[in-house]
Symmetry: C2
Subunit: 126 residues, 2 copies
Amino acid sequence: MRKDTSTNALNEKFINDTCGMGRALNIVGGRWKPAILYKLYRTTMRYGELKKSIDGISERMLVAQLRELEEDKVIERIVYPEVPPRVEYRLTDLGRTMGPMLEAMSNWGDLHREKTGDQTKGSSND
Amino acid sequence: MRKDTSTNALNEKFINDTCGMGRALNIVGGRWKPAILYKLYRTTMRYGELKKSIDGISERMLVAQLRELEEDKVIERIVYPEVPPRVEYRLTDLGRTMGPMLEAMSNWGDLHREKTGDQTKGSSND
DNA sequence: CTCATTTCTTACCTTTTTGTTAGTACTAAC
DNA sequence: GTTAGTACTAACAAAAAGGTAAGAAATGAG
């Protein structure tokens, strides 16, 4: 749980309020958000589809990060009143505006790997 | 300290190896790295200058993040053999290639603030 | 010999993030 | 009444990140 008076939390908030980069990082950062956004960038997906397609993610993490992305208004959650339940996730219009940024990040990450010759070459986690 | 057999660490590594976005995030993310990069993007700076110019950062954090950026080859550390010591930090060529990505992040962060009408409008932490 | 200056280092603690496991709610089909 | 399928929640534990405070090395100035 958040303790929003800790120095830690205050620092974060300050950076968020004054620096676009910090804000972007807060929204897009975190272990699984890149993967989620990558999937949803191509198409709407159900909860279960996301879970299956993202290797290694736990339900707790998937739900948590979906909720955060939703709060940040970059994705939306559509519930169909059926049984068993069906819930779809998709990018919002605001979410779609991330495109150029996400691409820039992806490209630079690949460039960095190339230049530093690190690790296995990426066959993107698709 | 890193425990590189934890599930957590393995997940991170996997994402790093397969996803450019994840890799970029790891290099540029963290509480203070955006601020450091922002400063160094304009000019070479001494340790003490960085410390003074980045509001709220502790020495431990400053050193730690500088070290990480150095390891990732985006900044370099130049030591002048003087007393008292003088150490300068500056972007490497690889570091300079981050330009478009950092701008994209900054721009999107600002756009997001605009669209969601959140918080104080940013007078960038300069 | 003491002090000031600069760039860190170390030890310890708090906060935040991530992972593990088990369980819930709903209803239709058997 | 039990089971199956889907999308979660809750409680707890481990790991990582961040914060605080004190100290260390090196040396020229006084």
